[in-house]
Amino acid sequence: MSEQLCSFQLAGMTFGIAALDVQEILRAQPITRVPLADPATVGLMNLRGQIVTAIDLRVRLGLPPRADDERSINVVIRSTEGVFSLLVDSIGDVVVLDRDLLELVPENVPSHFRDLMAGAYKLPDRLLFVLVVDRVVTHRIGESS
């Protein structure tokens, strides 16, 4: 069985989200900060009348933060918790991969990262980590899964 993944880059790494979960891709949007929220929550944005929470995937995954002048792209996804926007560095292609080749993320990868992944594909030149959107939006930083 194969799956379609929408791929994107974060801190030089490649990730993928099931294409069916992706609603749309947007350039940087005006975002209202939410003080006191967890650090990964960038704020709220207006998506055609719907209020959507934006999550910085770099912070969420414990990757080094984006430099101030670096642009980010919104990947708007649908989860069981509703619609969210995930901030990523840049968008790649939609790739079709064979589900049978998906491997577990090694045990020694930190759990705050590993717990959000369905697994990893070994592409010829790099690894592609597959995110589970429901876990990304529900679990908060510091929470064990």
Partner: protein
Amino acid sequence: MGADEEILQEFLVEGRENLDRLERELVGFEANGASEDSISAIFRTVHTVKGTAGFFGFDRLQSLTHVAESLLSKIRDRELALTSGIVSAQLAVVDACRMMLDWVEQTGTDGNDDYAPLKTQLEWLAAPTSLPVLAQTATAAPPAMESERADTTVRVDVQLLDKLMDLAGELVLARNQLLELASTSRDAGLAQSAQRLDLITSELQDHVMKTRMQPIGGVWNKLPRVVRDLSAELGKQVRLELEGKDTGLDRSVLEAIKDPLTHIIRNSIDHGIETPSERIAKGKDAEGALRLRAIHAGGHVLLEIADDGAGIDPDRVRAKAIERGIVSPERAAKLTTEEAQALVFAPGFSTAEKITNVSGRGVGMDVVKTNIEGIGGAVEIDSVPGRGTTIRLKIPLTLAIIPALLVVAAGERYALPQSGVLELVRIDPAAGRKVELIDHTPVYRLRGELLPLVYLSQLLGTGGATATTIVVLQNEGRPFGLVVDTAQDTEEIVAKPIGKRLIDLATYSGATILGDGRVALILDVRGIAMHAGLGSLKRREADVPRAVIPVADRYLLARLGADRRIAVSLEHVARLEELSTATIERAAGREVVQYRDGLLPLIRLGDALGAMPSEPDKSGEGPARSAAEDGAKENDRIHVIVYSSGDRDLGLVVDGILDVIEERAALSTKGAHHGLLGSAVLDGKVTDVVDVAAIAASAGYATGGM
């Protein structure tokens, strides 16, 4: 269409919807097996159909559903197992009810068939030992079945209305952009078109909003009839009072509270309000009062249903809950009065001695709680045995349009529900309107009252800019000031949920989209007060041991001598003053100062409490010096707590003001000597709580009410 006709039409529409649902539930029941929830759901639906049929006097319909309900209640109570025979019989009931509704629509009566065989079958099924007998029912169809149903309204999915609302909002934004573009263009045609678009958009938005909002009076209109019929049936006299009919509620919210409201009213009349003879025996009016009040408050709609009936007897509730297996006897004994009264919300609870047609099958309050919580609201019960019961529904603003004040803190805009805003005060140090610090706690003197202040930017940790405005808010009846950078306009906002990820943040009640398309957070007044430590702690009377008396929540902490801490209840503290000792005069052998066109008697608390002698501290604010010494130190200043009770003011001289705190303290009266209410641990330190009334009395000042 007359009002009655209208109600009847709604009854038909709803009745059919309920039957459709029942059918689905029954079939699903058979397919997926019986879960506790699904049985309860079916039971409630049948109960609702029966209830409404009763109000309209459709006896045949009511009697059939009553029998069906009895059978279901046995299944719910696990006296009977669910069989396909029972499901078939219940489905036959659905069909029969549909037929009767058709009769109602055509002729205004529920037909001429009693469905006796079906009822007999249901009764047989309900009796565990007997054999079910299949009943053949052949019923004459009502005349002219094919005629059109008289529906002039279209029922629209609320989600569709939500979507329309969102789109209208988007259209407004697009229009705003176009208007800006048109204003810089020389094209007259464009300007004209933009103008027209502007008008149409405004009108459209207005109407889309209107489709969603309804005054609560629309639901209330049916209540007089309900109350009248019910009280007649039960031989009671009830006067219905409605207040706040025009309170606008979102359609979906209104829909969601309709059934719970009816349930509560039925319960109030059935269980709450006593019969005229009972009432007269208790010295009440023969006629009971049922008061409904709806208000917008703190970004919520508060719906209050109050009766002056018998109230909820906590002991009876405990006993019943134990009998029903809802709580263990050990736990029941530990419950506070409020907790015991809250047991009426437990599923399967019923205090009615006999099962009546009206209520008392254990549906009702359970349903109310489920439904209200289902829309994110809350139910509170407040009952005084013998005096009556008040049920408060707090309905979220989720979809309601509310006026809000926009404030700015650290460059970000926030919306404050206007209902919580008392007034705006501009900080202007030049004009003497400045913020003062009581031991690092900012306060503001608002017309002589001390107003605790909360800096919004500090609270949210966003760093401060220049604060210019105090928004005076009210939390739990007490005012506090929220300091913001600037206050902007008020705007009608549509509150939207903030999303599950952020729902734990008590400081926000939601978010909204402003005119320029940006998102703004809606501040939750209560949440802010709690976050800033101004909220009161949950009170639990049962946790307070006997020897300890709970005392007032807010204290002014002051210092006597170098390190003796005393506290006075803030309730009667009118002002804090710093006076020069030179202003102290003597009248009739007592110290007084001229104060606000009058004389303010002074009591030196140190003397009155027999303070241990201590060295005057560096600032010269030594304790308990006699007035004779003061003459020599004209520049000395004294701290005076102006205590006010009735029309009498009294100045309490202390050596320093420390803080205003909010703390629920357990007061230990052990070894308390004269002039003290006792001592308590306040702000982490042992503090003497002063009995001002006693001190005033022993000093010869009568102070009523302190």
